[in-house]
Amino acid sequence: MSEKTVQSLSEVTIRFAGDSGDGMQLTGTQFTNTTAILGNDLSTLPDYPAEIRAPAGTLFGVSGFQIHFGSMEIHTPGDQCDVLVAMNAAALKVNLVSLIDGGTIIVNTDGFNDKNLKLSGYKENPLRNGSLDRYRVFEVDITKLTALALQDLNLSSKMVDRSKNFFALGMMYWMYNRPMEPTIEWINGKFVNKPEIKEANLRVLKAGWNYGETTEIFAVRYEVGPAKLAPGRYRNITGNQAVAWGMMAAAKKANLELFLGSYPITPASDILHELSIYKQFGVKTFQAEDEIAGICSALGASFGGALGVTTTSGPGVALKSEAIGLAVMVELPLVIVNVQRGGPSTGLPTKTEQSDLLQALYGRNGEAPVPIVAASTPADCFDAVFEASRLALKFMTPVFCLTDGYLGNGSEPWLIPDYNSLPDIACSFRKDAEGFFPYLRDEQTLARPWVIPGTPGLEHRIGGLEKQHITGNVSYDPANHELMTKLRAEKVERIADDIPPATVEGDDHGEVLVVGWGGTYGAIKTAVMRHRQKGHSVSHLHLRYVNPMQKNVGEILYRFKHILVPELNLGQLVKVLRAKYLVPATGLNKIQGLPFKAIEIEKKIDEILKGNA
């Protein structure tokens, strides 16, 4: 056994890439969980095609998983990767662009046969023609080594092939000094009833580790120490899981039953999957026949006194629009989670985008204001949806909670909140028939009373026709319609009295204010931090609430010379800010189905500071 040098690093970005059937998402998730347990800060970016098993070896079938981890604070999945694990030629071709100069490539040489090269459009083998000279390339015949490790097990070649991702994982565990135990435990649990597969995966994982340990080709191992995070108990969490748990927590804190009406849609389905597990919490999940029935069943459940929620992505919201308008009219609580993806139409189902903001704000017939809460990181999805639920219940209104594919599938370490210290959500049903009118509003919030069927003496009818002020009877009176339209708008506006003021990261005045919302948080924060480290006058305002906006947003904007609004769309928030505050805000827009790189925002800030924007 050779002596290996151990080198210490403060941060690393690794990208696993292979065929969509190669198990790269699983490899990445396992590496992430182990890394989280080691106490690194981290951020991940799963990047996979919409096809479940695209033809093997093709460029469009490449599935990738990027993890950025370190002993320092990590806010993005990494602009570029330091290490690329490529299971075949197509994976190399697609992902080489993300690798830093001088970066490390670990290739499975078996994935570079003539067929692979042809499918990925390589005229000659990139491993042989010197085109990778500026990288450190490690060639490993992962397929063959996997087969050797399993040769006495008599497994089908297909099954052997399926295990090779564990070889890559074992190798990377060795290289970055991570324990195999968490994954061993996971394999033992997952394949408890499939002893053959269990044995194969365990063997291959260990073979990968041992290969790193014994082979001469790897001379260096790396050590990434734990990050200095705030003290407490942590777990790794994805945005979709955080949404599910946040909803459960909100329902419990309001002492209500949680009812989810939903229809499977990428990238939101995992929320439905997650909530379906927790029957012991009394959660009712309903996989409806379509998006419309998803939201309508949730609204029906809200009428009955449950916390009704529906989860979807952009195309689903389009279908739900009429029912959202109904919820606005009947003034019942309802939470609509949109895990945004690339649009329009079917668009890019597995890619992230922020292009549904204006849909959430305005995408309904009539004057139909709906509050919007936006999550900024995967773990923040918990707080965002908890807050959306609180507002829905307090103000008797549908509320949008916007996340996106990057937040939903991405993960980060989460300082687990003390559940008991989370605030209760005050909630009550009207019981008293004396002086009851369905649309007699609370003076402060303008919310109407919530009366559940089953309460004697309070029988009443609600519906989508315009309501008479106070009595709730159907009314076509012109003046009443104007009054009710204004009341519904005013009710949503009054939420601004109920939420904390916006806070600026950095100085509260200066040259450049970068304003963001949603999943761009990490990239903006990183870019702004880099400028501040250079002493530049740059600050960051990230909007938790897009409708209504916090009361001090205007004042903050006016205290900066330049306002930059990076968004993964053609400029939606920037339009709203310009219209509402009459400020000359500039957009930075990216519509590639991918999150911002910090460097892209950093450069734009540079231009503004130099007066070139």
Binding site: N33, M248, N255, K279, G282, K431, P453, R461, G463, L465
Partner: protein
């Protein structure tokens, strides 16, 4: 754990009141056109409700859009006048969240069969305990007279001046095809029959579907006269009843027998056939229900009216609650703090 709903219901519980039909009339003026068949359906429903032994504050009428969908405003119960075609979906969610309620959907041939067709069939197969009353007038009334999915082919309307090309749905067959457990048909002009059917629908565990032939005297007057008026009714309608042979005709001189799988009309007068040769209805027999419902548009056969099928099958929301109870017995009530801290966690000092 008692939820806020349970606490509220407990705090407001009252003894079962004694009702008359009047108790179910709301304070709203009924605004259907004079002479509309909907009036009769409203009256029969209000007459049946007091007999069900369900307090009116436990009843919810949910509707979509259309003339029929104004129904909830006129019932002094809880009500939800929703959006076009979606009443079935809203009612499904309500009943799943609140199995203790008696939930009714009032819909029409446009609302239920056209825009709401998808939700309709899925409600049927799931067998959620919701009662659906479909007022079939074979026309769009509220939008002023376009043909509907149950209009006869060739119908001349404002949107089909050359005659409609659509072949009509037979709602009963559609419901049966969607695996409904209770399927019936009644007539706006036959109050007593309607009351019986509504009562049976209310008592049925699982989704009950009642199609009611309803006259729209403004846009489709007389669409069902053949089946509802004295002169023609006896010869044109066969009332199907569980355990009874299918006899019809003014003189009770005709019957339906099965020739293979095909029903045919036979005369009981000339001595070649007797009542014992006739088809005897069995409302538990799914195959038979298809055959009877299929008589609907067949020339030469009387229109079948009554209960086609009344089948016991597990009820959706009860099974949902059973799964929850099972999980709670096995894993005890959910402890949120424990869940947040479950699985792989680590401590940063």
């Amino acid at each position: 754990m008692n939820t806020l709903v349970e606490d509220t219901l407990k705090a407001t519980a009252i003894d079962q009141p004694k009702y008359s039909a009047k108790d179910f009339q709301s304070d709203q003026d009924v605004r259907w056109c004079p002479g509309c068949g909907d009036y009769s359906i409203l009256a029969q429903t209000q007459r049946v409700m007091p007999e069900l032994g369900i307090p009116k504050h436990k009843m919810v009428f949910v509707s979509g859009i259309g003339c029929s969908s104004r129904f909830p405003y006129y019932m002094n119960t809880y009500g939800f006048h929703s959006i076009h075609g979606r009443a079935t979906a809203i009612a499904s969610g309500l009943k799943m969240a609140r199995p203790d309620l008696s939930v009714w959907v009032v819909t029409g041939d446009g609302d239920g069969m056209s825009i709401g067709g998808n939700h309709f069939i899925h409600l049927m197969r799931r067998n959620i305990d919701v009662n659906v009353l479909l007022f079939n007038n074979q026309i769009y009334g509220l939008t002023k007279g376009q043909y509907s999915p149950t209009s006869e082919k060739g119908k001349i309307t404002k949107s089909t001046p050359y005659g409609s090309l659509d072949y009509p749905f037979n709602p009963a067959s559609l419901a049966l095809g969607a695996s409904a457990t209770f399927v019936a048909r009644s007539l706006d002009r036959d109050p007593r029959h309607m009351q019986t059917i509504i009562r049976r629908a209310a008592d049925h565990r699982g989704t009950s579907f009642v199609e009611i032939y309803q006259n729209c005297n403004v846009f489709n007057d007389g669409a069902f006269y053949q089946f509802t008026e004295k002169e023609s009714k006896d010869e044109s309608v066969v009332f199907i009843e569980h355990g009874k042979p299918l006899v019809f005709g003014k003189e009770k001189d005709k019957g339906i027998r099965l020739n293979g799988f095909s029903p045919e009309v036979v005369s009981l007068k000339d001595g070649s056939w007797s009542v014992s040769d006739l088809l005897v209805h069995d409302e538990k027999d799914t195959t038979l229900s298809f055959i009877l419902a299929d008589m609907t548009y067949k020339p030469g056969l009387p229109r079948p009216v009554g209960i086609f099928l009344a089948l016991d099958r597990p009820v959706y929301e009860e099974e949902m609650v059973r799964q929850i109870n099972f999980a709670q017995e096995k894993q005890s009530d959910g402890d949120m703090a424990k869940l947040l801290n479950s699985g792989d966690t680590w401590i940063v000092q």
